[in-house]
């Protein structure tokens, strides 16, 4: 707890107020104290109102005072609320072939624990959504099995009750957005004042309060994704499956959502497993504990498997230099260079990413972008 409090203090000290507010809300939920959570929500609202009015990061003295009060109240809590990971589902060589069409998902095995974030990456039409829908119980599987470890003899209703699936194309909501959130919460057994509190919490946590009184047609597709996540989280699923959740989000929102998902997965209040598919490889790799790369229905890569340990170093760069200049600097026998029209991919058995960058900088090669992709699924694209 002390570490988390220090983390928030650090965020406030460095004026990362948005992050501080979100973390404060998370901690107040984790300690399971309604009064503190209400105060944190009020504090968050104050911040958002202030942000809306001034459109700048400076906040008033009251904000700091309230933050200190909340942090003092949280200081009395120990570390008892940290969650212990439990296995949610074990996927054993599941495969799927559609009756119509010639696509087949080849056998894939994996396991998902609470607090885990698993990223599924791959090109379009290669089986990511099929795999996710099989996990969510939406599609039947042809072979293999899925063991839902936390459920004893579950039927599909129970499975779907505890596993939430957010499709890429989210079905339209009808009525007020806030009513939808209340409805989902109460349908999951969160009733009365607790319902109000949790909906307020979720709106503040995902910074959606300003849009809660609107309806579906009045918000952008990015906000629709966020509202859908809020709705699903209110149902407290054990496993959250998101199909391309970043597709409709801007670059900042992508980062925010991914960070939030990571925190939510590790929440002490309700730890859960999260599986998401995306084309945003680097963003997903940053937050995912495990990444699965699926190509033409086959799982080609899974982080953590010994067979997948990279044997060569790889770096992706964007530069104005030509291929010949790069080879001259790095040595013809040391590297292989591929160009995809925008970026160069430099692979080497001997030179690490740091060595390559050092050589390029030392030879005045201008770089506008570089990324070490040695352990990234990007290598397989």
């Amino acid at each position: 707890m002390q570490n988390r409090i220090q983390e928030i203090k650090s965020f406030i000290a460095h004026e990362d107020y948005s992050l501080a507010v979100r973390r404060m809300l998370d901690i107040c939920l984790d300690v399971d104290n309604s009064e503190l959570l209400q105060q944190a929500i009020a504090w968050s609202k104050t911040y958002h109102q202030h942000q809306k009015k001034n459109n700048e990061t400076a906040v008033g003295v009251d904000f700091h005072n309230d933050a200190n009060k909340l942090l003092s109240a949280l200081a009395v809590y120990g570390n008892s609320n940290t969650s212990v990971p439990k296995t949610l589902i074990k996927v054993n060589a599941i495969s799927k072939t559609y009756n119509k069409g010639n696509f087949s998902l080849k056998p894939i095995s994996t396991a998902i624990q609470t607090t885990n974030v698993i990223g599924i990456v791959g090109e379009n039409g290669n089986g990511k959504t099929t795999f996710l829908r099989c996990l969510a119980g939406q599609l039947s599987i042809d072979s293999g099995n899925i063991n839902y470890a936390l459920l004893s003899n579950p039927d599909y209703y129970t499975i779907k009750h505890s596993i939430a699936f957010i499709p890429q194309r989210i079905p339209k909501w009808y009525g007020l957005l806030k009513d939808n959130l209340h409805f989902s919460a109460s349908l999951s057994g969160i009733t009365g004042s607790q319902n109000e509190l949790m909906v307020d919490y979720m709106l503040e946590r995902l910074n959606l309060s300003d849009y809660a009184h609107l309806n579906w047609n009045q918000i952008s597709s990015g906000y629709r994704t966020r509202f859908e996540i809020a709705r699903i989280l209110l149902q407290k699923p054990s496993l959250l499956i998101l199909d391309e959740p970043l597709a409709n989000l801007d670059i900042n929102a992508q980062q925010t959502i991914l960070t939030d998902l990571r925190y939510i997965a590790k929440s002490a209040y309700h730890p859960m497993g999260i599986i998401l598919s995306s084309q945003q490889l680097h963003e997903v790799e940053k937050v995912a504990d495990t990444v699965l790369f699926i190509k033409q229905g086959n799982c080609l890569f899974k982080t953590g498997e010994e067979t997948n340990v990279a044997k060569t170093f790889a770096i992706e760069i964007e530069t104005t230099a030509t291929r010949e200049e790069l080879i001259k600097v790095l040595g013809e026998n040391e590297v292989q260079i591929q160009f995809n029209g925008g970026n160069y991919t430099v692979t080497s058995a001997n030179l690490s990413a740091n060595d390559i960058i050092s050589k390029l900088v030392a030879n005045n090669i201008s770089l506008s972008y570089f990324r070490d992709i040695t352990n990234s699924t990007k290598r397989y694209f």
Partner: protein, 505 residues
């Protein structure tokens, strides 16, 4: 005014919000709003119907009102469905129990019933207005007075001769026994002049006793029946169905007026009857309804009966009284039972459709309806080509329901969600309330046919099975509802829960 929910009081808004937080299934059915706005609309409609000029003596225009209000009801149903379809508690995999499902069905039923009830308002208002203006006993008293006054005033013109019939009660139902022949011969020998003798059986005899004004027994099995002249000029059926004071029949008029006739003061009698005529005289506005009025004006008929009718405007008065009686007793006795059935079955059928729609996919629901239509057509053709009877159609209906029931169980064993199973579950749900009444109907039909067959074979002797014929259909109706209410939270709940959650192929 809040245009989202105009005229909504704060307490109802709070209630609505509380339902949202605590009872999502109740909240999503929107029954509280349907009943609130429905009640407001009923009050408004009732107010309009009260203000609208509507003479109780006129032909009722309630059918036009019903047509007009039916359109509003349909619009209200559509409006309710738009709100209802926004939130579906059954497809979110939330904490829904069997009793929740039953409750939601009840709420759908209550909502539809309220909307259908709109169409009853104009008729109810008409009835209230007619009852307020004309008391039950007043109508009967006026009719009796009218008939008595006409009889008094027309005393000299009426033929007071009683009609006589002679008949013997035969011993055998069919044919004529030697004993019957002897009686006829004896009777003819004892009577003067030629007259016909009717031979009747004991049941006809009992009927004649009821109809005959006086019956004299001549011998062991021979009777003379006397019929009183018809003194009833103004006859209004059912006017005394719900009153202590009864309408005088022709014998009643005979006894009170003719038997000990005292000539009335003609001026006073004429004034009294004029007052009654004025009270019930109503000239219809449209030409079609003014038939009686126009007939009096234009007809060349010079018979006594017509002249009496014209003199006392009997057809017009009778028509007015009939209109009043129709309005007053529209919701009494068998009529109210029939009216309730219309309301009940429309609400039930619509609720079942909405319930099935909310539980299945759109494709499955509409395919279920299509299947029902196709099965009906095919079965109809099959029955027609095989010279089948209503017994065959009832047997098919029962068979289909049992098949749907059997196939519905595959929801428990299937590994994928099959449209076929969904269709069977839907059709089972739609059929189940009507299964018991169909079985009762079929049983009755079988017994009835058997009775006829046995009766024919045993030379028309009444068979004991006859008494078992009428196993009341109402038991079947009631049991159908009970069966639905039992199966909804149990088996049907499980069928839908299992089937909808299954993965797709």
């Amino acid at each position: 005014m809040n245009w989202n929910r105009p005229l909504a009081p704060n307490f109802l808004k709070k209630f609505d919000h509380n339902l949202l937080l605590k009872n999502p299934e109740t909240w999503s059915a929107r029954t509280h709003w349907v009943w609130y706005y429905g009640s407001l609309f009923c009050l408004l409609l009732a107010g309009i119907c009260f203000v609208y000029p509507n003479d109780a003596r006129s032909n009722s225009g309630v059918i036009y009102w019903i047509f007009f209000v039916s359109i509003i009801s349909i619009l209200a149903l559509v409006f309710w469905l738009i709100y209802l379809l926004r939130f579906n508690v059954f497809k979110r995999f939330g904490n829904i129990t069997g009793l929740n499902r039953l409750k939601v069905f009840g709420l759908y039923f209550a909502s539809v019933a309220m909307i259908v009830f709109f169409t009853y308002i104009p008729a109810i208002v008409e009835t209230i207005r007619a009852n307020a203006k004309y008391k039950d006993e007043e109508i009967v008293k006026d009719i009796n007075n009218f008939n008595k006054l006409v009889t008094q005033l027309e005393y000299d013109s009426v033929d007071h001769q009683w009609r006589m019939d002679t008949f013997i009660v035969r011993e055998e139902e069919y044919g004529m026994s030697d004993k019957d022949k002897q009686i006829i011969e004896l009777t003819e020998a004892n009577r003067k002049g030629g007259f016909s003798i009717s031979r009747i059986d004991s049941s006809q005899f009992n009927e004649n006793i009821k109809k005959g004004d006086t019956i004299i027994r001549l011998g062991k099995a021979e009777y003379e029946m006397y019929s009183c002249p018809n003194y009833i000029k103004l006859a209004v059926l059912n006017a005394d169905d719900y009153t202590k004071l009864k309408l005088l029949d022709k014998i009643g008029i005979y006894r009170t007026v003719v038997k000990d006739f005292k000539r009335p003061d003609p001026k006073k009698a004429r004034e009294e009857i004029d007052a009654l005529m004025q009270k019930y005289y109503y000239k219809e506005k449209d030409r079609y309804s003014r038939y009686e009025y126009d007939t009096y004006s234009n007809s060349q008929d010079t018979t006594y009966e017509f002249r009496v009718k014209k003199r006392y405007q009997i057809d017009i008065v009778e028509s007015s009284l009939r209109n009043i009686v129709e309005r007053k007793y529209r919701f009494c006795g068998n009529d109210v039972e029939w009216q309730f059935r219309v309301l009940f079955y429309i609400s039930l059928c619509f609720s079942l459709l909405v319930f099935a729609f909310r539980h299945s996919t759109t494709k499955t629901f509409f395919l279920s309806l299509l299947t029902a239509v196709i099965l009906s057509i095919l079965t109809g053709l099959l029955i027609a080509f095989s010279n089948g009877s209503e017994k065959a159609s009832m047997t098919w209906l029962i068979t289909y329901t049992l098949i749907f029931f059997g196939v519905s169980f595959t929801a428990f064993t299937s590994k994928t969600r099959s449209i076929f199973t969904g269709i069977c579950v839907n059709l089972f749900v739609l059929n189940i309330p009507f299964l018991p009444i169909t079985i009762v109907g079929l049983y009755n039909k079988i017994i009835w046919d058997k009775y006829y067959e046995l009766e024919r074979m045993s030379n028309y002797v009444k068979h004991p099975l006859y008494d078992k014929y009428t196993l009341p259909l109402v038991y079947g109706e009631m049991f159908g509802i009970v069966l639905l209410l039992i199966l909804l939270p149990t088996l049907i709940h499980k069928f839908y829960r299992k089937w909808f959650a299954l993965p797709q192929e």
